[in-house]
Protein backbone atom coordinates (compact mmCIF):
# COMPACT_ATOMS: atom_id res chain seq x y z
CA UNK A 1 0.00 0.00 0.00
CA UNK A 2 1.27 3.39 -0.92
CA UNK A 3 0.63 5.77 1.92
CA UNK A 4 -1.25 8.99 1.52
CA UNK A 5 1.63 11.39 1.93
CA UNK A 6 3.59 9.67 -0.74
CA UNK A 7 0.65 9.73 -3.06
CA UNK A 8 0.15 13.46 -2.55
CA UNK A 9 3.83 14.04 -3.27
CA UNK A 10 3.42 12.07 -6.47
CA UNK A 11 0.47 14.12 -7.57
CA UNK A 12 2.33 17.32 -6.90
CA UNK A 13 5.33 16.09 -8.85
CA UNK A 14 3.16 14.99 -11.73
CA UNK A 15 1.31 18.27 -11.95
CA UNK A 16 4.49 20.29 -11.60
CA UNK A 17 6.27 18.38 -14.36
CA UNK A 18 3.28 18.59 -16.65
CA UNK A 19 2.91 22.31 -16.14
CA UNK A 20 6.61 22.93 -16.67
CA UNK A 21 6.64 20.93 -19.85
CA UNK A 22 3.49 22.58 -21.10
CA UNK A 23 4.60 26.11 -20.37
CA UNK A 24 6.40 26.81 -23.66
CA UNK A 25 3.49 25.28 -25.45
CA UNK A 26 1.01 27.60 -23.80
CA UNK A 27 3.36 30.44 -24.49
CA UNK A 28 3.11 29.70 -28.16
CA UNK A 29 -0.67 29.82 -28.07
CA UNK A 30 -0.45 33.21 -26.36
CA UNK A 31 1.98 34.41 -29.02
CA UNK A 32 -0.43 33.42 -31.74
CA UNK A 33 -2.89 36.06 -30.56
CA UNK A 34 -0.39 38.88 -30.58
CA UNK A 35 0.42 41.17 -33.44
CA UNK A 36 3.75 40.84 -35.10
CA UNK A 37 4.93 44.08 -33.51
CA UNK A 38 3.84 42.92 -30.07
CA UNK A 39 5.67 39.64 -30.49
CA UNK A 40 8.91 41.29 -31.42
CA UNK A 41 8.97 44.36 -29.22
CA UNK A 42 7.15 43.27 -26.08
CA UNK A 43 7.18 39.48 -26.12
CA UNK A 44 6.55 39.29 -22.38
CA UNK A 45 3.24 41.05 -22.34
CA UNK A 46 -0.06 39.32 -22.77
CA UNK A 47 -1.95 40.14 -25.95
CA UNK A 48 -4.00 43.30 -25.59
CA UNK A 49 -7.05 41.79 -27.14
CA UNK A 50 -7.82 38.31 -28.29
CA UNK A 51 -7.27 38.95 -31.96
CA UNK A 52 -7.52 36.29 -34.57
CA UNK A 53 -5.73 38.28 -37.25
CA UNK A 54 -2.82 35.90 -37.38
CA UNK A 55 -5.17 33.03 -38.04
CA UNK A 56 -7.10 34.97 -40.61
CA UNK A 57 -3.85 35.93 -42.22
CA UNK A 58 -2.64 32.34 -42.16
CA UNK A 59 -5.83 31.20 -43.83
CA UNK A 60 -5.62 33.95 -46.42
CA UNK A 61 -1.99 33.21 -47.25
CA UNK A 62 -1.95 29.46 -47.19
CA UNK A 63 -4.14 27.06 -49.05
CA UNK A 64 -4.50 24.74 -46.09
CA UNK A 65 -6.71 22.31 -47.93
CA UNK A 66 -4.06 21.77 -50.58
CA UNK A 67 -1.28 21.62 -48.00
CA UNK A 68 -3.14 19.06 -45.94
CA UNK A 69 -3.99 17.05 -49.03
CA UNK A 70 -0.38 16.98 -50.21
CA UNK A 71 0.99 16.14 -46.80
CA UNK A 72 -1.62 13.47 -46.37
CA UNK A 73 -0.82 11.95 -49.73
CA UNK A 74 2.92 11.82 -49.07
CA UNK A 75 2.31 10.53 -45.60
CA UNK A 76 0.01 7.69 -46.62
CA UNK A 77 2.07 6.65 -49.61
CA UNK A 78 5.33 6.63 -47.65
CA UNK A 79 3.79 4.81 -44.73
CA UNK A 80 2.20 2.13 -46.87
CA UNK A 81 5.39 1.55 -48.77
CA UNK A 82 7.73 1.54 -45.80
CA UNK A 83 5.52 -0.68 -43.68
CA UNK A 84 5.39 -3.36 -46.33
CA UNK A 85 9.09 -3.45 -46.98
CA UNK A 86 10.33 -3.01 -43.43
CA UNK A 87 7.88 -5.55 -42.10
CA UNK A 88 9.22 -8.07 -44.60
CA UNK A 89 12.86 -7.34 -43.87
CA UNK A 90 12.34 -7.20 -40.12
CA UNK A 91 10.53 -10.52 -40.28
CA UNK A 92 13.61 -12.04 -41.86
CA UNK A 93 15.98 -10.45 -39.37
CA UNK A 94 13.94 -11.41 -36.36
CA UNK A 95 12.42 -14.80 -37.04
CA UNK A 96 14.35 -16.56 -39.74
CA UNK A 97 17.33 -18.74 -39.11
CA UNK A 98 20.62 -17.68 -40.62
CA UNK A 99 23.47 -20.09 -41.07
CA UNK A 100 25.78 -17.34 -40.03
CA UNK A 101 24.46 -15.39 -37.08
CA UNK A 102 27.09 -12.79 -37.83
CA UNK A 103 25.67 -12.06 -41.24
CA UNK A 104 22.28 -11.44 -39.69
CA UNK A 105 23.79 -9.15 -37.11
CA UNK A 106 25.72 -7.32 -39.78
CA UNK A 107 22.65 -6.68 -41.91
CA UNK A 108 20.82 -5.50 -38.83
CA UNK A 109 23.66 -3.18 -37.83
CA UNK A 110 23.92 -1.93 -41.40
CA UNK A 111 20.25 -0.98 -41.42
CA UNK A 112 20.40 0.64 -37.98
CA UNK A 113 23.40 2.76 -38.91
CA UNK A 114 21.12 5.18 -40.74
CA UNK A 115 19.87 6.51 -37.41
CA UNK A 116 22.95 8.65 -37.00
CA UNK A 117 22.71 10.44 -40.31
CA UNK A 118 21.67 14.03 -40.36
CA UNK A 119 19.28 14.36 -43.29
CA UNK A 120 20.81 17.48 -44.76
CA UNK A 121 24.00 15.59 -45.67
CA UNK A 122 21.79 13.59 -47.97
CA UNK A 123 20.00 16.53 -49.59
CA UNK A 124 22.21 17.15 -52.60
CA UNK A 125 22.93 13.53 -53.44
CA UNK A 126 19.34 12.41 -52.91
CA UNK A 127 18.14 15.21 -55.14
CA UNK A 128 20.56 14.18 -57.85
CA UNK A 129 19.58 10.54 -57.57
CA UNK A 130 15.88 11.42 -57.74
CA UNK A 131 16.44 13.49 -60.84
CA UNK A 132 18.40 10.67 -62.41
CA UNK A 133 15.51 8.32 -61.66
CA UNK A 134 13.03 10.79 -63.13
CA UNK A 135 11.27 11.53 -59.85
CA UNK A 136 9.72 14.95 -59.43
CA UNK A 137 7.42 16.85 -57.14
CA UNK A 138 5.77 15.43 -54.09
CA UNK A 139 6.19 11.88 -55.32
CA UNK A 140 9.94 12.38 -55.10
CA UNK A 141 9.57 12.81 -51.36
CA UNK A 142 8.30 9.29 -50.85
CA UNK A 143 11.58 7.46 -51.35
CA UNK A 144 13.67 9.67 -49.07
CA UNK A 145 11.00 9.41 -46.38
CA UNK A 146 10.81 5.66 -46.73
CA UNK A 147 14.59 5.38 -46.71
CA UNK A 148 15.08 7.52 -43.63
CA UNK A 149 12.44 5.54 -41.78
CA UNK A 150 14.09 2.18 -42.40
CA UNK A 151 16.53 2.40 -39.50
CA UNK A 152 13.96 3.38 -36.91
CA UNK A 153 11.43 0.84 -38.14
CA UNK A 154 14.00 -1.91 -38.13
CA UNK A 155 14.99 -1.06 -34.58
CA UNK A 156 11.38 -1.29 -33.40
CA UNK A 157 10.02 -4.08 -35.55
CA UNK A 158 12.93 -6.47 -35.10
CA UNK A 159 12.84 -5.85 -31.36
CA UNK A 160 9.17 -6.66 -31.22
CA UNK A 161 9.03 -9.61 -33.56
CA UNK A 162 11.98 -11.26 -31.88
CA UNK A 163 10.08 -11.26 -28.62
CA UNK A 164 7.19 -13.30 -29.96
CA UNK A 165 7.59 -16.93 -28.88
CA UNK A 166 9.08 -19.15 -31.56
CA UNK A 167 6.50 -21.88 -30.86
CA UNK A 168 4.05 -19.85 -32.92
CA UNK A 169 6.03 -20.41 -36.07
CA UNK A 170 6.48 -24.06 -35.36
CA UNK A 171 2.79 -24.56 -34.77
CA UNK A 172 2.02 -22.69 -37.94
CA UNK A 173 4.38 -24.79 -39.97
CA UNK A 174 2.95 -27.98 -38.57
CA UNK A 175 -0.50 -26.72 -39.56
CA UNK A 176 0.83 -26.48 -43.09
CA UNK A 177 1.15 -22.74 -43.37
CA UNK A 178 3.24 -21.26 -46.14
CA UNK A 179 5.60 -18.48 -45.28
CA UNK A 180 3.08 -16.03 -46.69
CA UNK A 181 0.35 -17.32 -44.37
CA UNK A 182 2.68 -17.18 -41.45
CA UNK A 183 3.63 -13.59 -42.10
CA UNK A 184 0.27 -12.17 -43.04
CA UNK A 185 -2.16 -14.29 -41.09
CA UNK A 186 -0.19 -15.12 -37.97
CA UNK A 187 2.58 -12.63 -37.25
CA UNK A 188 1.07 -9.49 -38.73
CA UNK A 189 -2.02 -9.46 -36.48
CA UNK A 190 0.21 -10.00 -33.48
CA UNK A 191 2.39 -7.07 -34.52
CA UNK A 192 -0.44 -4.57 -34.60
CA UNK A 193 0.69 -2.56 -31.58
CA UNK A 194 4.21 -2.04 -32.83
CA UNK A 195 2.92 -1.16 -36.27
CA UNK A 196 0.70 1.47 -34.67
CA UNK A 197 3.78 2.91 -33.01
CA UNK A 198 5.74 2.95 -36.21
CA UNK A 199 2.86 4.61 -38.01
CA UNK A 200 2.56 7.32 -35.40
CA UNK A 201 6.22 8.20 -35.21
CA UNK A 202 6.70 8.20 -38.94
CA UNK A 203 3.55 10.18 -39.55
CA UNK A 204 4.73 12.82 -37.11
CA UNK A 205 8.15 12.89 -38.76
CA UNK A 206 6.73 13.30 -42.23
CA UNK A 207 4.24 15.89 -41.06
CA UNK A 208 7.05 18.11 -39.74
CA UNK A 209 9.82 17.27 -42.18
CA UNK A 210 11.33 20.33 -43.83
CA UNK A 211 14.81 19.81 -45.39
CA UNK A 212 13.79 17.28 -48.04
CA UNK A 213 10.51 19.01 -48.75
CA UNK A 214 12.24 22.31 -49.33
CA UNK A 215 14.61 20.80 -51.85
CA UNK A 216 12.30 18.43 -53.70
CA UNK A 217 9.21 20.57 -54.05
CA UNK A 218 9.23 23.28 -56.64
CA UNK A 219 5.66 23.83 -57.49
CA UNK A 220 3.57 25.62 -54.91
CA UNK A 221 0.77 23.16 -55.62
CA UNK A 222 3.04 20.36 -54.35
CA UNK A 223 3.93 22.06 -51.06
CA UNK A 224 3.52 20.19 -47.81
CA UNK A 225 2.54 21.70 -44.50
CA UNK A 226 6.06 22.17 -43.21
CA UNK A 227 6.71 24.52 -46.10
CA UNK A 228 3.91 26.75 -44.88
CA UNK A 229 6.13 28.74 -42.52
CA UNK A 230 8.35 29.86 -45.36
CA UNK A 231 5.46 31.86 -46.76
CA UNK A 232 5.80 34.22 -43.85
CA UNK A 233 9.50 34.77 -44.18
CA UNK A 234 10.68 37.09 -46.92
CA UNK A 235 14.14 38.38 -47.61
CA UNK A 236 13.43 41.60 -45.77
CA UNK A 237 10.33 40.78 -43.77
CA UNK A 238 9.16 38.17 -41.37
CA UNK A 239 5.73 37.58 -39.94
CA UNK A 240 6.20 35.66 -36.69
CA UNK A 241 2.50 35.88 -35.91
CA UNK A 242 1.73 34.13 -39.17
CA UNK A 243 4.37 31.50 -38.55
CA UNK A 244 3.11 30.74 -35.07
CA UNK A 245 -0.55 30.67 -36.09
CA UNK A 246 0.11 28.42 -39.06
CA UNK A 247 2.22 26.16 -36.86
CA UNK A 248 -0.67 25.78 -34.50
CA UNK A 249 -2.82 24.85 -37.47
CA UNK A 250 -0.25 22.21 -38.31
CA UNK A 251 -0.05 20.90 -34.77
CA UNK A 252 -3.77 20.55 -34.10
CA UNK A 253 -4.33 17.54 -36.35
CA UNK A 254 -1.20 16.00 -34.88
CA UNK A 255 -2.53 16.42 -31.38
CA UNK A 256 -5.82 14.85 -32.35
CA UNK A 257 -4.01 12.03 -34.08
CA UNK A 258 -1.83 11.52 -31.04
CA UNK A 259 -4.80 11.65 -28.71
CA UNK A 260 -6.57 8.96 -30.71
CA UNK A 261 -3.62 6.61 -30.78
CA UNK A 262 -2.09 7.40 -27.43
CA UNK A 263 -2.95 4.02 -25.96
CA UNK A 264 -1.49 2.22 -28.97
CA UNK A 265 1.77 4.08 -28.71
CA UNK A 266 2.44 2.85 -25.24
CA UNK A 267 1.26 -0.60 -26.14
CA UNK A 268 3.45 -0.71 -29.23
CA UNK A 269 6.43 0.59 -27.38
CA UNK A 270 5.69 -1.87 -24.65
CA UNK A 271 6.71 -4.62 -26.84
CA UNK A 272 8.57 -2.90 -29.64
CA UNK A 273 11.41 -0.79 -28.48
CA UNK A 274 11.58 -2.55 -25.31
CA UNK A 275 11.91 -6.25 -25.40
CA UNK A 276 14.73 -7.48 -27.50
Amino acid sequence: MINKKKKTAMYIAMILITVLVMFPFLWMIILSFKTNAEIMSSPLSLPETLNFDNYKNAFATLDFLQLYANTFFVCIASLAFELVITFCSSFVLSRMVFKSARLKKMIYGFLIMGLSISPFILLFPVYKISVALGLHGKVALIFPYVATSISFNTLLLVGYLKALPSEIDEAAVIDGCTIWDLMVRVILPMAKPVIATVVIFNALYIWNEFPFASVMLRDVTDYTLSMGASFFKGNYTVDYGGIVASSIMIIIPELIFYGLFQKNIVEGMTAGAVKG
Binding site: P24, P43, I85, F91, F124, V126, V173, N208, A273, V274
Partner: protein
Protein backbone atom coordinates in the same frame (compact mmCIF):
# COMPACT_ATOMS: atom_id res chain seq x y z
CA UNK B 1 11.12 -21.95 -38.25
CA UNK B 2 14.11 -23.55 -39.79
CA UNK B 3 12.02 -25.11 -42.54
CA UNK B 4 10.81 -21.83 -43.80
CA UNK B 5 14.17 -20.09 -43.59
CA UNK B 6 15.02 -20.74 -47.18
CA UNK B 7 17.60 -18.57 -48.76
CA UNK B 8 15.31 -17.34 -51.50
CA UNK B 9 12.70 -16.19 -49.02
CA UNK B 10 15.26 -14.32 -47.06
CA UNK B 11 16.66 -12.65 -50.13
CA UNK B 12 13.25 -11.85 -51.56
CA UNK B 13 12.00 -10.30 -48.35
CA UNK B 14 15.15 -8.33 -47.63
CA UNK B 15 15.74 -6.95 -51.10
CA UNK B 16 13.17 -4.14 -51.23
CA UNK B 17 14.38 -2.66 -47.96
CA UNK B 18 18.04 -3.06 -48.83
CA UNK B 19 17.46 -1.61 -52.27
CA UNK B 20 15.74 1.54 -51.05
CA UNK B 21 18.20 1.90 -48.21
CA UNK B 22 21.22 1.53 -50.46
CA UNK B 23 19.95 3.88 -53.15
CA UNK B 24 18.63 6.61 -50.88
CA UNK B 25 20.90 6.39 -47.84
CA UNK B 26 24.12 4.55 -48.55
CA UNK B 27 24.71 5.84 -52.07
CA UNK B 28 24.11 9.45 -51.01
CA UNK B 29 26.55 8.98 -48.13
CA UNK B 30 29.13 7.67 -50.55
CA UNK B 31 28.54 10.60 -52.87
CA UNK B 32 28.79 13.05 -49.96
CA UNK B 33 31.99 11.45 -48.72
CA UNK B 34 33.29 11.62 -52.28
CA UNK B 35 32.65 15.36 -52.38
CA UNK B 36 34.54 15.75 -49.12
CA UNK B 37 37.72 15.12 -51.09
CA UNK B 38 36.97 17.91 -53.52
CA UNK B 39 36.75 21.63 -53.74
CA UNK B 40 33.20 22.33 -54.82
CA UNK B 41 30.98 25.35 -54.48
CA UNK B 42 27.76 23.57 -55.37
CA UNK B 43 27.75 25.23 -58.78
CA UNK B 44 29.83 24.07 -61.70
CA UNK B 45 32.40 21.31 -61.40
CA UNK B 46 34.00 19.74 -58.37
CA UNK B 47 37.80 19.63 -58.29
CA UNK B 48 39.58 16.79 -56.51
CA UNK B 49 41.84 18.12 -53.80
CA UNK B 50 42.78 15.03 -51.85
CA UNK B 51 42.91 15.39 -48.11
CA UNK B 52 43.05 19.19 -48.11
CA UNK B 53 39.63 19.57 -46.53
CA UNK B 54 40.49 17.19 -43.73
CA UNK B 55 43.81 18.89 -43.09
CA UNK B 56 42.05 22.22 -42.97
CA UNK B 57 39.45 20.82 -40.64
CA UNK B 58 41.96 19.86 -38.00
CA UNK B 59 43.38 23.34 -38.00
CA UNK B 60 39.95 25.00 -37.98
CA UNK B 61 39.25 26.62 -34.63
CA UNK B 62 35.51 26.57 -35.24
CA UNK B 63 35.53 22.86 -35.90
CA UNK B 64 36.94 22.29 -32.43
CA UNK B 65 34.50 24.74 -30.90
CA UNK B 66 31.57 23.01 -32.53
CA UNK B 67 32.93 19.62 -31.48
CA UNK B 68 33.23 20.86 -27.91
CA UNK B 69 29.67 22.26 -27.99
CA UNK B 70 28.31 19.04 -29.44
CA UNK B 71 30.00 17.09 -26.67
CA UNK B 72 28.60 19.41 -23.99
CA UNK B 73 25.14 18.96 -25.44
CA UNK B 74 25.65 15.24 -25.72
CA UNK B 75 26.82 14.69 -22.13
CA UNK B 76 24.20 16.98 -20.63
CA UNK B 77 21.26 15.81 -22.71
CA UNK B 78 22.25 12.18 -22.34
CA UNK B 79 22.43 12.35 -18.54
CA UNK B 80 19.36 14.50 -18.08
CA UNK B 81 17.24 12.53 -20.49
CA UNK B 82 18.24 9.09 -19.39
CA UNK B 83 17.85 9.79 -15.68
CA UNK B 84 14.85 12.10 -15.63
CA UNK B 85 12.78 10.36 -18.25
CA UNK B 86 13.29 7.14 -16.32
CA UNK B 87 12.24 8.76 -13.05
CA UNK B 88 9.24 10.43 -14.60
CA UNK B 89 8.25 7.13 -16.17
CA UNK B 90 8.45 5.50 -12.73
CA UNK B 91 6.25 8.26 -11.38
CA UNK B 92 3.65 8.11 -14.12
CA UNK B 93 3.56 4.35 -14.03
CA UNK B 94 1.87 4.60 -10.63
CA UNK B 95 -1.87 4.44 -10.54
CA UNK B 96 -2.54 8.15 -10.39
CA UNK B 97 -5.67 9.89 -11.52
CA UNK B 98 -5.11 11.81 -14.71
CA UNK B 99 -1.78 10.27 -15.50
CA UNK B 100 -2.90 9.39 -19.03
CA UNK B 101 -3.70 13.01 -19.59
CA UNK B 102 -0.40 14.06 -18.12
CA UNK B 103 1.44 11.57 -20.32
CA UNK B 104 -0.21 12.99 -23.41
CA UNK B 105 0.70 16.52 -22.44
CA UNK B 106 4.29 15.67 -21.63
CA UNK B 107 4.56 13.98 -25.00
CA UNK B 108 3.23 16.96 -26.91
CA UNK B 109 6.53 18.88 -27.38
CA UNK B 110 7.78 15.95 -29.43
CA UNK B 111 5.22 16.66 -32.12
CA UNK B 112 5.96 20.33 -32.60
CA UNK B 113 8.09 21.08 -35.64
CA UNK B 114 11.64 21.73 -34.41
CA UNK B 115 11.68 25.16 -36.06
CA UNK B 116 8.79 26.24 -33.86
CA UNK B 117 10.49 24.76 -30.82
CA UNK B 118 13.40 27.07 -31.55
CA UNK B 119 11.19 30.13 -31.97
CA UNK B 120 9.31 29.49 -28.72
CA UNK B 121 12.47 29.02 -26.71
CA UNK B 122 14.09 32.12 -28.13
CA UNK B 123 11.36 34.13 -26.45
CA UNK B 124 12.02 32.32 -23.21
CA UNK B 125 15.80 32.45 -23.12
CA UNK B 126 16.65 35.66 -24.92
CA UNK B 127 18.82 37.83 -22.66
CA UNK B 128 16.80 41.01 -23.13
CA UNK B 129 13.30 40.03 -24.19
CA UNK B 130 13.12 36.50 -22.78
CA UNK B 131 10.77 35.30 -20.08
CA UNK B 132 13.48 34.05 -17.72
CA UNK B 133 15.47 37.25 -17.42
CA UNK B 134 12.22 39.21 -17.34
CA UNK B 135 11.08 37.08 -14.42
CA UNK B 136 14.40 37.51 -12.59
CA UNK B 137 14.08 41.26 -12.99
CA UNK B 138 10.53 41.18 -11.70
CA UNK B 139 11.46 39.35 -8.51
CA UNK B 140 14.43 41.61 -7.95
CA UNK B 141 17.05 38.99 -8.70
CA UNK B 142 18.58 40.83 -11.61
CA UNK B 143 22.04 39.68 -10.52
CA UNK B 144 21.13 36.18 -11.58
CA UNK B 145 20.38 37.23 -15.14
CA UNK B 146 22.49 35.40 -17.67
CA UNK B 147 23.17 35.41 -21.37
CA UNK B 148 21.29 32.10 -21.67
CA UNK B 149 21.71 32.20 -25.40
CA UNK B 150 23.91 34.39 -27.54
CA UNK B 151 26.67 34.78 -24.97
CA UNK B 152 30.08 33.16 -25.04
CA UNK B 153 29.45 30.13 -22.88
CA UNK B 154 25.91 29.17 -21.96
CA UNK B 155 24.37 28.54 -25.38
CA UNK B 156 25.24 24.84 -25.67
CA UNK B 157 23.84 24.18 -22.21
CA UNK B 158 20.62 25.94 -23.10
CA UNK B 159 20.41 24.02 -26.34
CA UNK B 160 20.88 20.75 -24.45
CA UNK B 161 18.04 21.78 -22.18
CA UNK B 162 15.72 22.61 -25.07
CA UNK B 163 16.51 19.28 -26.63
CA UNK B 164 15.80 17.65 -23.31
CA UNK B 165 12.43 19.36 -23.19
CA UNK B 166 11.57 18.27 -26.70
CA UNK B 167 12.56 14.64 -26.27
CA UNK B 168 11.40 14.06 -22.71
CA UNK B 169 7.87 12.86 -23.44
CA UNK B 170 9.02 10.63 -26.23
CA UNK B 171 11.48 8.80 -24.00
CA UNK B 172 9.14 8.73 -21.03
CA UNK B 173 6.68 6.92 -23.27
CA UNK B 174 9.28 4.33 -24.17
CA UNK B 175 10.25 3.84 -20.54
CA UNK B 176 6.65 3.49 -19.43
CA UNK B 177 6.24 0.86 -22.07
CA UNK B 178 9.27 -0.92 -20.66
CA UNK B 179 7.91 -0.76 -17.13
CA UNK B 180 4.64 -2.29 -18.29
CA UNK B 181 6.59 -5.30 -19.50
CA UNK B 182 7.83 -6.18 -16.04
CA UNK B 183 5.52 -8.88 -14.72
CA UNK B 184 3.52 -7.84 -11.67
CA UNK B 185 4.44 -10.97 -9.75
CA UNK B 186 8.14 -10.17 -9.89
CA UNK B 187 7.53 -6.83 -8.25
CA UNK B 188 5.17 -8.35 -5.75
CA UNK B 189 7.77 -10.96 -4.85
CA UNK B 190 10.28 -8.20 -4.25
CA UNK B 191 7.71 -6.42 -2.12
CA UNK B 192 7.16 -9.50 0.00
CA UNK B 193 10.90 -9.90 0.40
CA UNK B 194 10.80 -6.47 1.99
CA UNK B 195 12.54 -4.51 -0.74
CA UNK B 196 12.29 -0.73 -0.47
CA UNK B 197 11.29 1.35 -3.46
CA UNK B 198 14.88 2.22 -4.24
CA UNK B 199 15.97 -1.39 -3.93
CA UNK B 200 13.22 -2.51 -6.27
CA UNK B 201 14.43 -0.04 -8.84
CA UNK B 202 18.06 -0.96 -8.38
CA UNK B 203 17.80 -4.74 -8.30
CA UNK B 204 14.63 -5.56 -10.18
CA UNK B 205 13.52 -2.82 -12.51
CA UNK B 206 16.81 -1.63 -13.97
CA UNK B 207 18.17 -5.10 -14.73
CA UNK B 208 14.89 -6.09 -16.34
CA UNK B 209 14.82 -3.00 -18.49
CA UNK B 210 18.28 -3.28 -19.93
CA UNK B 211 17.04 -3.46 -23.52
CA UNK B 212 14.76 -0.50 -23.07
CA UNK B 213 17.59 1.51 -21.62
CA UNK B 214 19.86 0.74 -24.54
CA UNK B 215 17.17 1.60 -27.07
CA UNK B 216 16.67 4.93 -25.36
CA UNK B 217 20.41 5.51 -25.16
CA UNK B 218 20.87 4.82 -28.87
CA UNK B 219 18.00 7.15 -29.73
CA UNK B 220 19.53 9.91 -27.59
CA UNK B 221 23.02 9.50 -28.99
CA UNK B 222 21.92 9.49 -32.59
CA UNK B 223 19.42 12.26 -31.94
CA UNK B 224 21.97 14.61 -30.40
CA UNK B 225 24.09 14.44 -33.50
CA UNK B 226 21.15 15.54 -35.59
CA UNK B 227 20.14 18.62 -33.56
CA UNK B 228 19.86 21.37 -36.08
CA UNK B 229 16.81 23.62 -36.09
CA UNK B 230 17.02 24.36 -32.36
CA UNK B 231 20.47 25.87 -32.75
CA UNK B 232 19.55 27.58 -35.99
CA UNK B 233 16.55 29.28 -34.43
CA UNK B 234 17.96 30.22 -31.04
CA UNK B 235 21.44 31.49 -31.86
CA UNK B 236 22.05 30.69 -35.52
CA UNK B 237 25.40 29.34 -34.30
CA UNK B 238 26.41 32.77 -33.12
CA UNK B 239 27.89 34.92 -31.91
CA UNK B 240 30.52 34.26 -34.48
CA UNK B 241 30.18 30.46 -34.60
CA UNK B 242 30.71 30.18 -30.85
CA UNK B 243 27.53 28.18 -30.29
CA UNK B 244 27.79 26.13 -33.45
CA UNK B 245 27.36 22.36 -33.27
CA UNK B 246 28.97 19.98 -35.72
CA UNK B 247 25.80 19.75 -37.77
CA UNK B 248 25.07 23.47 -37.91
CA UNK B 249 28.68 24.32 -38.62
CA UNK B 250 28.82 21.95 -41.53
CA UNK B 251 25.48 23.29 -42.73
CA UNK B 252 26.73 26.85 -42.58
CA UNK B 253 29.91 25.94 -44.45
CA UNK B 254 27.99 24.00 -47.07
CA UNK B 255 25.10 26.30 -47.78
CA UNK B 256 26.02 29.73 -46.44
CA UNK B 257 29.69 29.87 -47.34
CA UNK B 258 29.19 27.84 -50.48
CA UNK B 259 32.00 25.46 -49.58
CA UNK B 260 30.25 22.24 -50.36
CA UNK B 261 33.40 20.11 -50.33
CA UNK B 262 34.58 21.37 -46.98
CA UNK B 263 31.08 21.16 -45.54
CA UNK B 264 30.88 17.52 -46.56
CA UNK B 265 34.21 16.74 -44.88
CA UNK B 266 32.75 18.19 -41.68
CA UNK B 267 29.61 16.13 -42.16
CA UNK B 268 31.64 12.98 -42.71
CA UNK B 269 33.60 13.53 -39.52
CA UNK B 270 30.35 14.16 -37.63
CA UNK B 271 28.87 10.95 -38.92
CA UNK B 272 31.98 8.99 -37.96
CA UNK B 273 32.04 10.45 -34.44
CA UNK B 274 28.40 9.56 -33.94
CA UNK B 275 29.02 6.01 -35.17
CA UNK B 276 32.00 5.65 -32.86
CA UNK B 277 30.05 6.79 -29.83
CA UNK B 278 27.17 4.47 -30.66
CA UNK B 279 29.72 1.71 -31.19
CA UNK B 280 31.45 2.33 -27.87
CA UNK B 281 28.10 2.38 -26.15
CA UNK B 282 26.94 -0.93 -27.58
CA UNK B 283 30.31 -2.46 -26.80
CA UNK B 284 30.14 -1.35 -23.16
CA UNK B 285 26.59 -2.55 -22.67
CA UNK B 286 27.35 -5.87 -24.30
CA UNK B 287 30.13 -6.45 -21.79
CA UNK B 288 27.72 -5.72 -18.97
CA UNK B 289 25.15 -8.13 -20.25
CA UNK B 290 27.73 -10.84 -20.36
CA UNK B 291 28.80 -9.99 -16.84
CA UNK B 292 25.28 -10.24 -15.62
CA UNK B 293 24.82 -13.79 -16.83
Amino acid sequence: MYWLSKKRYKIGLLIPTLLVYCVFIILPIIIAVGYSFTKYSGIGKARFNGLDNYIRLFGDRFFWISLKNTMIIFVLAFTLLLVLSFLIALLLNNKLKGNDFSKALIFSPAIIAPIIVGIIWTYILDPSVGVINGFLDAIGASDLKQMWIGGDTLSPYSIAFIYFWQQLGYLVTIFIAGLKMIPEDVLEAAQIDGATGAQKVRYVIIPMMRTTISTVAVLIITGVFKIFEIVQQTTGGGPNHLSETLVTYSYSMTFTSGEYGYGMSLATVTFIISLIITGIYSFLTREKERGAK
